[in-house]
């Protein structure tokens, strides 16, 4: 049994989340189960307010589930930890630290016992290089653009060497060109490092382009997994070549149809 779970890597089992109690009780998630293989890139898509972020926060350990379990490599997850690094929606960099120090803080905390100071410096630089931010590493978050901040957020998360990378609508607040650029970088990093990724998004193209499987969530309250779609596209993927690709168009159509037909849009509270 436990051997099977290791194989499954990340496993979400019958997860339910209810906020409040009595009259104000609101059921956000109902019976969510999901198996994620090592190295898999999963996109979770749904209308705003459907509980996607709650699901991610529960996997991150930042929010406690009302019932159900999250297992990572066969061990139950209760608390947040660097093995499930989060890239927050609004970057969440500490504004009083430089770009370098923001990443270094994470590196120092996690590798204090296992790496020397010089190694930690190297490791910090290496992760900044992955997102092409070494040139601005002396700057503070207030002095760089939104896209750059998000890249630093990604570098900080990668620097933790997480088992799972959790991306909470990481490119939601960016303009289309910057977003496309960062999507390329994330694809490249995923190809190089083989991370297991859970990404929340409300962008259909982003979901199809980046992920191996798309989890489509029904609208809240009591959101459930409506459908799972495996994206049948080989990697590396090229956004321009895919525009006319039949299976890309089919995947895109499937997700769009789900979002617009099978889950009625309800204005988020």
């Amino acid at each position: 049994m436990s051997a099977k779970r290791v194989e499954e890597y990340l496993k979400v089992e019958h997860l339910c989340k209810t906020f409040g109690s009595g009259e104000a009780r609101s059921e956000v998630l109902r019976d969510i189960s999901l198996d994620v293989a090592r190295g898999e890139f999963i996109a979770i898509i749904g209308h705003s307010g459907c509980g996607k972020s709650t699901l991610l926060n529960i996997v991150a350990g930042l929010t406690e589930a009302t019932s159900g379990y999250v297992f990572l490599e066969g061990r139950e997850v209760h608390q947040p930890g660097p093995d499930r690094a989060v890239v927050f929606q609004n970057h969440s960099l500490l504004p009083w630290l430089t770009v370098y120090d923001n990443v270094r803080l994470a590196v120092d905390k996690i590798f204090r016992a296992t790496k020397t100071s010089a190694e930690r410096h190297e490791w910090t630089l290496r992760n900044l290089e992955l997102v092409h931010m070494t040139s601005a590493m002396k700057k503070r978050p207030g002095e760089i653009s939104g896209g750059m901040k998000q890249r630093v957020g990604i570098a900080r998360a990668l620097a933790m060497s997480p088992k799972v990378l959790l991306l909470d609508e990481p490119f939601g607040a960016l303009d289309a060109l910057t977003r496309a650029h960062l999507q390329e970088q994330v694809m490249q990093i995923h190809a190089d490092l083989g991370n297991t990724v859970l990404m929340i998004t409300h962008d259909v193209d982003e979901a199809v382009l980046l992920s191996d499987r798309i989890v489509m969530m029904t609208n809240g309250p009591a959101a459930q997994i409506g459908e799972l779609h495996t994206v049948p596209l080989a990697r590396p993927r090229n956004r321009l070549e895919l525009i006319a690709d039949a299976s890309y168009i089919a995947s895109r159509g499937k997700v769009l149809e789900f979002l617009h037909r099978k889950s009625h849009y309800v204005e988020a509270a």
């Binding site: 690094a85 989060v86 609004n90 969440s92 500490l94 905390k109 996690i110 503070r140 978050p141 933790m160």
Partner: protein, 273 residues
């Protein structure tokens, strides 16, 4: 255009800019001086005009460092004694206030238990504490320091608590993902995030300290600018009082600037963008 002309223009623009900042207050000061001079030059005027103030206090102005023993010292020594009391009391208030503020800012129960108490205590006027502290310490020096402490601590406590309570949830989440321990959270997240609030409290605190010390020293006696003023009043040396008030104002202004500047240095980059 030759470089010489360009430089001349630049220079002229700079002079104009500096004059624009310096001239208005200087002119205003001169105007007030003239009005004061005119108003107080009448033979039945109760207060001396500025010319008389300068003439009367010339000895004090040019010899701030004289020391004839006892309380007969130059103004520098009086101000120095007051500043010493303020810095001691203020240092205690700052460290105690930040500690208490962190406590009630991070613990709901400490907040519920202490906040009502603080809200009442902070309305007590500084001088009302003096008799009680004289009774407790049986000495003027510690009593004055205590009055400074108790005056300055409330805005520091309250502002620190607000700052700690307002640490964005995002920063807390970052620290939870990184599993920062209590001490790491305190130094890496809490202090820098709350720094702007803490310095607001510190700045109000230093202003209040300086307000309180003059009043307290009038009552406890000894060396100090407050006592100097009271002593001058008892000897009817009105010009001495006016000179002392000018010094008190300037020092108060400088103290405020110093704390504000320190806050600016410490709070560099803490404004979230």
């Amino acid at each position: 255009m030759t470089p010489g002309v360009a430089r001349l223009r630049q220079l002229r623009a700079r002079v104009a800019r500096i004059a624009g900042v310096v001239l208005p207050p200087v002119l205003m000061l001169a105007l007030l001086g003239v009005v004061w001079e005119v108003l107080c030059s009448a033979p039945d005027a109760t207060l001396p005009p500025p010319s008389k103030v300068v003439a009367d206090t010339w000895e004090l102005i040019i010899h701030p460092l004289y020391d004839n023993g006892g309380n007969d010292k130059g103004l520098f020594w009086h101000l120095f004694a007051s500043l010493k009391r303020v810095s001691l009391g203020y240092a205690l208030a700052a460290s105690g206030g930040i500690a208490l503020g962190v406590l009630i800012g991070s613990s709901k129960w400490a907040m519920r238990a202490l906040d009502p108490l603080f809200q009442v205590l902070r309305t007590i006027p500084p001088l009302a504490w003096l008799p009680l502290s004289l009774a407790a310490f049986r000495d003027g020096q510690p009593s004055a320091i205590f009055v400074i402490f108790i005056t300055a601590i409330w805005p520091i406590v309250i502002n620190t608590a607000v700052g700690v309570r307002n640490i964005p949830e995002d920063y807390r989440n970052v620290s939870r993902v990184l599993r920062l321990n209590g001490f790491e959270f305190f130094t890496h997240i809490m202090l820098p995030a709350a720094a702007p609030y803490i310095f607001t409290g510190l700045r109000i605190g230093i202003g209040l300290s300086w307000l309180a010390i003059v009043a307290a020293e009038m009552l406890i006696g000894g060396v100090g600018i407050g006592f100097f003023i009271w002593d001058a009043w008892n000897s009817s040396l009105i010009s001495d009082i006016i000179l002392a008030l000018i010094y008190v104002g300037i020092i108060g202004f400088l103290l405020d600037r110093v704390v504000a500047f320190t806050g600016k240095l410490a709070g560099r980059g803490t404004v979230s963008v």
